[in-house]
Each structure stands twice: as structure tokens, then as C-alpha cells.
Amino acid sequence: MATVYVDNRAYEMDGEQNLLQGCLQLGMDLPYFCWHPAMGSVGACRQCAVKQFKDEKDQHGRIVMACMTPAAEGTRISIRDPEAVEFRKAIIEGLMINHPHDCPVCDEGGECHLQDMTVMTGHNYRRYTFEKRTFRNQYLGPFLNHEMNRCIQCYRCVRFYREYAGGNDFNAFALRNIVFFGRDRDGVLENEFAGNLVEVCPTGVFTDATLKRHYTRKWDLRMAPSICVHCGLGCNITAAERYGMLRRLVNRYHGEVNGYFLCDRGRFGYEFVNSERRIRQPLLEGKAVSKEDALTRLRELASGSVIGIGSPRASLESNFALRSLVGENRFYAGISGAESRLWKLMLAILRDGPARTPSLRETEACDAVFILGEDVTNISPRMALSLRQSVRRQPMEIVEQLHIPEWMDHAVREAVQEKKGPLFIASVSATRLDDIAAHTYRAAPDDLARLGFAVAHALNSDAPEPAGLPESVRALAGKIAGALKAAKHPLIVSGPSLAGAAIIQAAANIAWALPGTKLAFTAPEANSTGLAMMEAPAFDAAQADAADTVIILENDLARRFPASEMEQFLARFRHVVVLEYLENATTAKAELVLPAATFAEAAGSLVNNEGRVQRFFPALAPSPPVQESWRWLGSWNEFDDLAAALASAMPQLAAVTQAAPSASFRMTGAKVPREPHRYSGRTAMLANISVHEPKPPADPNSPLAFSMEGSPDQPPGALQPFFWTPGWNSIQAVNKFQEEIAGALRQGDPGVRILEGGGSNPGFFDVIPAAFEPRADEWLLVPLYHIFGSEELSRYAPAVSQLAPHAYVALNPRDAEKFGDEVELLGQRVPLTKVAEIPPGVAGVPAGVPPFAGFGFPMWSKIARLP
């Protein structure tokens, strides 16, 4: 720590930091634009100017930029100095010269950092009398609006897009006061994290195009802390409602998980909640029935011979409610046997083995990474953004030697240039992290596993060695092992995406061969890890379980089975009951369909890939008869009773009660309001129906209120419905909610970790697959993942589905020679794509994309030439 004098008062600041961060940390209001807590300082906007004095005798001082000046011991600055005040005001005046002042029609209005900073500096009178510059805006795809006239040239967007997220189809063009931030021509932004520009841009240049279609101001939104359901990383989000509709999601800062950023699937996949395919009424044999009739029928069926099929996308509580209803022995996990075996294996590795799963923050600090089998960007996307930061760690040694502080972003990047720490990728095809990889290796799944085993053997000769490995692969294994060994924080990333136990075992062997190595598995669905921890058998085991009725929880079996097998499976039951939010192939087969609440209307807990139990809360008030699945299935009146029952029934998940404060939590006797203090129209919104203002919906399940009344204090992070403090209306207000800037939230980051590793090495896995042998007349079909298209729920969001691919089969160009532009595969006619990275003998098929969504890849299949 360093003593820094601000306006002649001594404060303690982190001496490794800059003055801006130090001042914000202390709660001072110092305006800024180009600085970003995750991206550091570049000194462009000059908004955070303060006066610096040499010593206590110096009366004159000089203007410096707080973001570019270290908080060194004894530094003396003034924020209130009249010259500094005038300067900061003049900066805003300059930024405003060309700004259109269109706040009333701007989607950013009311949560605009530029508005906040303008008010903070006191600039209010326009002296510029000339014409403003104007730009032509671009079409950037279904996620973002582009309104360049509002731009204040802070360069945050281009820094995030290119330097932080690794995109290259977006840039700063031209110069002086006409710098244009966009693409070289109209088109969909290619980077999977482009949606963050909504929050990175301090004003309304980049706004949420999905929000625009059902626009609501921040102050009119009813918001709740939630968890993203579009993969298993558990990114924290704020879900926002008005008029019973989910309006948008924004990032909810979590110091260990998502930090400041989300992926575009997570940000824009939410519209499935508003889908026309939503099931709003109970359906009995296709006809709408009352809630009471539906419940009566459910009770009848449940009292007979019944089994339950859970879901990796349903909460722990809903799964547990089904388990309780049907009995522990007749509850089956909603995944196939093959997938279930993988999850059991991964769970055992993480629970019993020595390796610990890093949080995404810890992932960013890893300095050598080996990705074995996964296309991370397309499976658990947010992790890829963290891995992209990890390759910056090793070159930081250079920066340290040159005494350049890490926050001085461009100086760091100039010193580091293109140098990157070691990242090795072994995959079946190209991945979106290849551009930062030291080496990529493409092979069939078994060969990927063999490389993994070879790396483990190179690290520790006790680990078994694959026989007959080609010299080049052995050399590569040695190189990877060497890089991991040389690292301070080595990391192995693997996962279930290629359905290969051998790949996962090889990853574990590597992690165990080199003590201290961290091990991260991707997780495709929101509660994949949580469901695995419930330790239920896979639902194909139910084949042997003769029952009259099957109750299927939030699970489309068409994504677990090929269509014919699914029909065979369901035909075994006289009664099929489905709890679901969206019409799908499974609800179409159901006798009774119960309308289930989505994440946006429900409370529940999910376990992410690192074993962190996190709670989500409803943003939408319940709209009967839609209700949480656990409510349909059980008789718990309050959520906390359910969570307590779960905790006592399943000790391994006992932490579920700790994931967030219980419903009885109060701050100075009051609940946490979901609506901001400026929420408007409360008395008018429903006046067309009744002039009597309705009572706000009750929420006995959480400490949150569906109201603007409640405590104005900051709740614990797990209950934080939105980031907003006086003078800080935009999401940049998060500074005021953190223990330290870019650190943990006050009162701790939400969630409880229940998988910590640290066990002893249970012995290396020693079943090594034989080398892959291409077949003469068959191809090994492997799944290729797509961030937009492979995940089930986001496919129902119009903006995401626009970018989803149609079915195809991808072959190595030489394998493709014998076919035309289209082939027949698994009885379907599909276009053929040539992909140089696909190994010979292997065919790529898009994962989760109809008509192949239910097949269990990898599998061997013929590919037929079409006449």
C-alpha cells in the first residue's frame, strides 16, 4: 500500500495501481471513459485529469491523467483543484461537440456513462456553434445496433474487440474528429463476444438490437439476479422484465466467474423465454385444462407405477422435486448412458483426484494451457475469452523486467508484441482459439486421447505410454509436457464434447502427472455438473424399469435419441408427462404437459463446471398457471423448505442452502427491491384493465420484492438485482459494489464451491485406445459445435437462430473428392463442406442441429453419393 494525498488528505492506495483506480476504489467520483477495469489504461480520453503536486510546498502543480499515473508512495493530487475541474469540464465539452444529444430517443439514455460523466463534470452549456459531423451507420448483425454519431472516440470498443477478444473484422478507421469504429463494410460481426460492446461503449453507439424490439428504459425494468442457462459455466446475469416480458440480459459482475463479460449466446439467447412456442397452459391430450385438473391427473399418474427423468438444464431443486416424487430409485438423469458415464468419470476425477478446476479468473492467470478435444469457444464460450487472456501471462515477465505496470495496457502490448504464452490445442477440427495457439494438432478422438496419454507419460513415467506412437506425435507430446512443466500455473482443458472417456482420462493423467496442474472440463448445459452430482442412473437404464408412467422434466428427448429410438422408448409407457417451457418433439408425445417456468420466472440453483452452486431468482412475476417445475411436482410452500430437504437428502449438495441468503433475509427490516427507485408507471401500467393499482406480486421464496419498495442498501452479491448508485446510472456503477476494483463483490462473490480437488492421485488411467484407423467405406462422424445453433434453448431466440447453421457434413477435401455438393447421411440429404482441418476418415456433423440433434456422436456411418 502507498500513502497518497488527495486534496491534502492522506489515503491508502494500492501502490501497484494507478491513481484513477485508487480514487474509484476509495469511492471518489472521478470521471473517465477510456479506462476499463478489465482493460486498463491508455490515456486517450483525458477525462480523469487531476492536478499533481511535487510536494506539499508545490502550489502550482501540473495536470496529469490519473489513469496514467502510478499511485506511488507520497503522491499528492487534487481532484477539486479549479484548473483540473475546468479541464475535465472542457473534455466533456469537446466530447459533446459532435454528440447528437439524442438521449430521449437513444437506447442508452438513462444508463449512459456519458450522461453520468457529463453531469459529474458540470458541463451544461454548449459553446460550439458549427455543424456536427455525421456518419453512415452499419448493419452489424442481429445483436447490435450501430449509431456512430453518438461516438466520443474513447477507443474502448476497438480495444475490447481486437485486443481483448481477438476479433479482426472491426477497427478504427480514419482520423482526427472523424474516427469511425466499425467494419470495413456492413456485415455480421464475427467475434462471439461482440455483444459486450453494449456495455463496453460508454454511450449509445453499440446498443442491444434484441432489446430495441421490445425497448424499455433501465429505470422501468424489474430486475433480478440470475444465472445464464446456455452452457454450464454459470455466468452471472441480470434478467430484466416489463409487462411480463423478458426484455434483456446484461452482465452481472462476478469476480471469479464471468467478470465484466458474457458471450453473445448468453447475452442474446434469452428470447426463448418470450417465444411463441412457450407453453402457457397445462395440456391434457393436447387440450388446455385448468391447473387443478392438471394437478389431479398428475397425482393420479404419480400414485401409480412411475419413473422420472431429470434434466441437465433444470435446477437442482426441480430435479430433486421429481426425484422425491418418483422415489430415489426410479429417478433417472436426463442424459444418455454414454453421456452419463462421462459425467460420472469427470465428477470422480474432480471430486476424488488432486486437480482443482480453476475459476475463469484463475484461468486467466494460467501461463501454459493444453486444450484436449474441446472447441471451447463453441461449447463453453466465456471460457475461451479467459483462455485468450491466459496466453498473455507468460510474456508479462518481459513487462515486469521493463518495469511497465500491467495496467498500462498499450505500453504492455507494445512491449509484448505478438509474443504469447504456450497454448496447445488438440481437436478434431479448427477451433476459434487456433489464432493464439503455439501448436494445433488435428486428429480423430482416439488419437487425441493418445496424444494426451503421451503428454502424461512425458511428464511422469508412471503414467502409461501409448504404444506405437508416431515420432512426430511423441515429439509434440514432449513439447507440450515441457511447456506445462515450465509453467507456474499449468492448465488442462478437456470435456465431454467428443464423448470420449479416453480423452477425459488422458486429461486427468496429465493433470495428475504434474502436481499443481489445474483441470477444467467444459459443461454443455446449465446444470450438467449438478445433475451429475445427484448421481442418478442414466435414463436408458429406465428401459429395464417397467413403469406405466414417465415424468420428463424440462428435457427434449429428441436431443438425446434419434427419432425412432425416442418413439420406441416413449411407447413403453402408457402415460407420458412432460414439464416444459417450449413445445418440442417430446411435449408432442405427452399425454399431460405442464407449463414450466423458465429461469426468468423461477428460483433455483445450478452447479457450474467448477462446482460452484449458484442461485437464480425470478425477474418475471409468476403468471399462473405457469410455475416452477418443483412447484408442480411437490408440495413445498417455500423455496427454502425445498432447499433444506434437498440438502438433507443429498449431503454432497448440502451447500445449496448457502448459495444465497434465505427468504427471511432482510436489510434494516426490508426486502431487496427488484425495481429501481425511478421505476415509473406503476399505477398506470394496468390502468386499461383496472384503475385500481394491483398489489405487487408476493415473493415468499426470496428476500427480493417485486416492487420498488425495500431497502436502499447494497445486498450481498447473490441478491444484487442491478448495479446502480447515485450519479452512476450505467453498468459502470459496478465499481461501487466491489470490495476492490475488478476484485470480489462486497460481501463476497456469489455461490459456494463444492468441488475443490486436493485429493491424492487415485492411480493413472491405463486403458489407452488403439490408433484411429480410417475405414474404406465408412466415416467416423464427430460433432462440430456451433456457439449459435448447438445449444438447445438459444435456438429458440430469433437473433441467435438467424446465425445457426443448417445441417451439413464436413469432410477433408481429399475424402470429399468422391462426392458431389450433396450427400446422403443417416437417411438425410445434406450439403457437403470441405474442411482442410478435418482428419482423413473423419466426418464432422453440426452438434445439436436437426435432423442429427439426437444422434450420439461419434459414430461410424456410411456416406452415400447422390446421383
Binding site: G94, R127, F130, L175, A411
Partner: protein, 424 residues
């Protein structure tokens, strides 16, 4: 070689460049031979320090001191870059040097490379200097042919590669860190300092950047010694200086004269005085980004400290003369238009303020000046103060404007009051 004009004395009167042989006949590459065969790097730096050679690009920093900032222990590769992106309005001195005696620059660069332990040099030349580029390229080829460049130069064990790079054409490319970004193929935005280029420069490696004229002096200093070089000057800054004059003088041009020659001598003896019928109103002593001086400053010696005392800067040493029949507002408007055009768009005071000032001045010239404009202009010159902006472009743009507001205030007010330009 005429002893008093080391930089230009050998140049051929027919406008052709000296080839290697001619350059060698005039003593060329002797300094290099002397350094590589008999002097340590430290000794070369000491000699240059002792010569009082100060940077000719405008900032006037001690060249020897700059070289000493690259310590022995820093990693390789290290770079030397010659800043030949001569885009300062009114400045055309480096052009003469690269077109007429390119080997002098090549030798200077090798010496700078030797002194700083550099492996590679780049001549970053203004793109429009096509003839200069041709001649520098020719000189580099000849130097390679003669073993002055490449591996193991003159069997000294020292190796140095030299490349010519033509600027894509922006004023910002002449700002030394903007130039590094341009060389790396990036936007020519300036970089934050610290770290300074000797610590983290081109491609993140230690880099020394000198102006073309600065480098051209080095061979002579090494060959003839620091004492000789100091003796060329009439001031405490060593050597000669290329002084120039443009504007409505009788003989606009460029002359190599002892450092510290007075403005009056340059203007009256070398430029031949004002054209008949015109009187001097003011002058920018060292290019567009220096403060105006006036008739009362004519006896100021043109060196770094004396011009500063008079309230301006030596800058590039090439004067722009304002006469009494030319509108000073128009002149300043033209200059600010240039700076506004060339702002890279990085920091707010520069890109926002210059665009605004440009418009105010144009409006004044077109008879649309408003009461309050003077205050707005004056405010912007303070707003662009040193340290307020990311680089020196806007502070440089402030200099002619702030001094014009001081010396020609009545002209500005006349524009506003009469709603016209009195010269039109």
C-alpha cells in the same frame, strides 16, 4: 570539404547526389572506420556528448545523452530509426540532405547503431520524397557493396542491417512513437511515455530515434572530434545548422550556418530581406508549431536556448515569414487547418479542439466571426497545454495560435467587428 559547412559543403552544384566514391573522397566513411577500428561504443557516445550535438528534429535533446539511455545489458535486437518524415509545414531541410548526400545519413546511422549496439536501422522517409528515397536506396545498396553495411563491417565484428521505409503519409508518422507504430504497420497513434523507446520501442525492443540532420552530423563529429564541432558554432550548442526561410522574402532558401546565427543575419543577408514594398510582421522561427516572433526579436541568435528566451522555439530552424500584406488570421487558419487535418484522433483535447478552432478561424476569415471567439480560441490554446494531451501535436498547434492572439490581436478583433477579412 569546406571546414565551416560539413553538412552541405560537399554537395554537388549540379543537384546530383554524391555517390559512394565521391563521398569517400570527401572524407566519407572515415569516421566510421575510426569508430569501428579504434573506439569503443562508450567512446563514440562520449565524443557525441562532448560535441554538444542537440537533436535537429525540434526538441533539441542531447544526442549523446539519448544514446546513453540504451544500456549495455538490454536485449537484442535493438533498432536505430532515422526520422525523415519531414512534414512540418515550412520545413525542407532533411530533403536536401537525403537527396544530395545520402551516404552522410547512412554513415551517421551506422555510427548511431554502433554506439547503441543496434542490429538494424530503418530510414523512415516521407513518402513524397521520391527522389530522396531513390537516392537513399542507392546509397544503402552502395554501402552494402562496399562492406559498410551487413555482417562484420570492416572486419570489426559489428553487423548492421539498414532498410529504407517510406511513410504512408501522415504528420503523426513523424512523432517518434507514432512512427514506431507506423513501422509496425499499425495506426500511427503516439505511444504512452514512459516507457521511452530506448526501453521499449520498435517491436517492443530498445530503439534510438534521431532526426536525419542530427545523424548527418555524426560522421563529422567522429572524424574531426567534438572540439572541432563545438568550434563551428557561435553558441553553446555545437555545430552548424540548416536554416531556412520561406514566405515573401527575396530569396527563400536553405543555408548551412553556424549554430547561433541571428535571425537578422539569416533574413537579411541570406534570404535577401523582404520583397520590395513589404515589411516584416512576424515569423515562425522553426516551423509551423513554434510561436511567432516579431521584428523586435531579429537579433535573437537561432539556437535552442536563445529562441526559447525570446518566447518561441528553435524547432526545425526553418522560418516562415509573415509580411504586412498577408492576413495573419488567414495564415494561422491555414496552419490550424493543417494540424486539425493531421490530428490522429486519439486524445480528446486534440481531436475535438483542433476541429473547433479550425472552424472558428475559417468563420472569421469568411466574415462569420462572433464575439466570444477570442476567448474560445485562447481557452483552447490553454486546453492543449503540455501534459494535457497525449503527444506534442496539439501543444505545437497552440504555439502559433497563442502567439498570434498576442501579437496580432487587433487583426482578429477587426475580423470579428467588421465581419470580413480586411485583406480580401
Amino acid at each position: 570539404m569546406p571546414e565551416d559547412k560539413p553538412l552541405t559543403g560537399n554537395m554537388r552544384p549540379d543537384g546530383q547526389a554524391l555517390d559512394r566514391e565521391a563521398y569517400e573522397r570527401a572524407g566519407g566513411y572515415q569516421g566510421l572506420r575510426k569508430a569501428l577500428t579504434g573506439m569503443t561504443r562508450a567512446a563514440v557516445i562520449e565524443e557525441v556528448k562532448a560535441s554538444n550535438l542537440r537533436g535537429r528534429g525540434g526538441a533539441g535533446f542531447s544526442t549523446g545523452l539519448k544514446w546513453s539511455f540504451v544500456p549495455e545489458t538490454v536485449p537484442h535486437p535493438r533498432y536505430v530509426v532515422a526520422n525523415g518524415d519531414e512534414m512540418e509545414p515550412g520545413t525542407f531541410k532533411d530533403r536536401l540532405l537525403v537527396e544530395r548526400d545520402p551516404h552522410q545519413l547512412v554513415e551517421g546511422m551506422i555510427l548511431a547503431g554502433y554506439a547503441t549496439g543496434a542490429d538494424t536501422g530503418y530510414v523512415f522517409l516521407r513518402g513524397e520524397y521520391k527522389l530522396g528515397a531513390q537516392r537513399v536506396a542507392q546509397a544503402i545498396a552502395e554501402a552494402y557493396g562496399a562492406g559498410y553495411l551487413g555482417k562484420d563491417i570492416l572486419h570489426s565484428g559489428y553487423s548492421f542491417e539498414l532498410y529504407l521505409h517510406l511513410s504512408a503519409g501522415r504528420y503523426m508518422c513523424g512523432e517518434e512513437t507514432g512512427m514506431l507504430n507506423a513501422l509496425e504497420g499499425k495506426r500511427a497513434n503516439p505511444r504512452a511515455k514512459p516507457p521511452f523507446p530506448p526501453v521499449s520501442g520498435l517491436f517492443g525492443m530498445p530503439t534510438t530515434i534521431n532526426n536525419v540532420e542530427t545523424l548527418c552530423n555524426v560522421p563529422h563529429i567522429i572524424r574531426n572530434g567534438a572540439a572541432w564541432f563545438r568550434g563551428l558554432s557561435r553558441s553553446k550548442d555545437g555545430g552548424t545548422k540548416l536554416y531556412g526561410a520561406s514566405g515573401k522574402v527575396k530569396r527563400p532558401g536553405l543555408w548551412e550556418l553556424p549554430m547561433g546565427t541571428t535571425i537578422r543575419e539569416i533574413l537579411e543577408e541570406h534570404a535577401g530581406g523582404m520583397r520590395d514594398g513589404l515589411r516584416l510582421r512576424g515569423l515562425l522561427p522553426g516551423g509551423a508549431s513554434t510561436d511567432f516572433l516579431t521584428g523586435e526579436h531579429l537579433d535573437t541568435p537561432m539556437d535552442f536556448s536563445e529562441v526559447q528566451k525570446a518566447g518561441s522555439r528553435l524547432g526545425t530552424g526553418t522560418m516562415i515569414i509573415l509580411d504586412d500584406q498577408t492576413c495573419p488570421v488567414g495564415m494561422v487558419s491555414n496552419l490550424e487547418h493543417f494540424f486539425a487535418q493531421e490530428s490522429c484522433g486519439w486524445c480528446t483535447p486534440c481531436w475535438s479542439g483542433l476541429g473547433w478552432v479550425e472552424r472558428i478561424l475559417r468563420a472569421m476569415e469568411e466574415g462569420r466571426g462572433q464575439p466570444g471567439d477570442m476567448e474560445k480560441l485562447a481557452f483552447q490554446t490553454r486546453f492543449w497545454g503540455s501534459g494535457h494531451t497525449f503527444c506534442a501535436l496539439a501543444p505545437g498547434a497552440a504555439e502559433p495560435l497563442q502567439s498570434a492572439l498576442k501579437y496580432f490581436r487587433a487583426d482578429f478583433e477587426q475580423h470579428i467587428n467588421e465581419k470580413r477579412c480586411p485583406w480580401k
